[in-house]
Amino acid sequence: MTQERFIDLVRAEQEPLRRFLLGLCCGDDALADDIAQDALVRAYVASGNFLGLSKFSTWLFRIAYNCYIDHCRKPGREHAALESREALAVQASDASDSRFRYQQLYQALEKIPEKEKVAIVLFYFEDKSIKEISAILDMPAGTVKYHLSSGRGHLKQYIQL
């Protein structure tokens, strides 16, 4: 796949991809964009492997999710995440900041297990079907449904409606 063709395909997917990672990174847009860039580079290098057997977006989201997991496993990530959360909290104290609207949601997402978080983000924010989520996360549809249900249960404890 040429770089031009790849960029064309990515152009349509960049917003959903960045939103997906923004949800996973609980509102840290600098980190989300950094992981998105990393995912795009990895996808570009591997684009010769893409056979078109699945949707391009499914393939790209899966790579992005793997990049996110790699980031989570990096040593020292907890400290950086804490600093980032503190910075977000300071910014969120300004009521005019649109981030404030999402503060409760992001704080709740941070508290739930990763698998539940990614299932929630893909299903509710990205409107992906269970089948697509199952392909992105490489897990059976039943397991995805379980994580969704369990994630909703956990979120109810942290979100005041």
Partner: protein, 124 residues
């Protein structure tokens, strides 16, 4: 739809409009163009090796079958029932079928694995 589900739908994260995002991605892609060339080259070599292995397995299999059919070690086995003939045939020639069968099996397994990777890349 429950209240929570409605809340989640109403609170989809909004990404900042960033025109430099794709430009930065493009810049990074140009930096790894050499690596991509090497990955593509290895991918092509691997695919060619698989096709050669599959073809070699098929050709050898056909050749062994033809030799076994025209020059049977045990001519008496040819006159028996189909199942008995097949059993005796495999018994007499099993070592000759080993290589083509192994080649075809390995090639098919690798092709299936690569297809799985291509459909939803798990290696990254």
């Amino acid at each position: 739809m429950s209240e929570l589900e409605q809340y989640l739908k109403d609170h989809k994260p909004v990404v900042k409009d960033d025109p430099t995002f794709l430009l930065e991605a493009q810049r990074r892609m140009e930096q790894v163009a050499g690596i991509k060339g090497e990955v593509d080259r290895q991918h092509r070599h691997g695919r060619r090796a698989l096709v050669i292995a599959l073809c070699a397995g098929l050709v050898l299999g056909v050749a062994v079958s033809a030799i076994a059919f025209f020059y049977p070690v045990n001519p008496e086995s040819m006159g028996k029932g189909i199942l008995d003939s097949l059993r005796l045939f495999l018994q007499d020639y099993r070592e000759y079928f080993l290589l083509p069968t192994a080649l075809i099996a390995i090639a098919l397994a690798l092709i299936l694995l690569r297809n799985k990777k291509g459909s939803a890349w798990g290696a990254l």
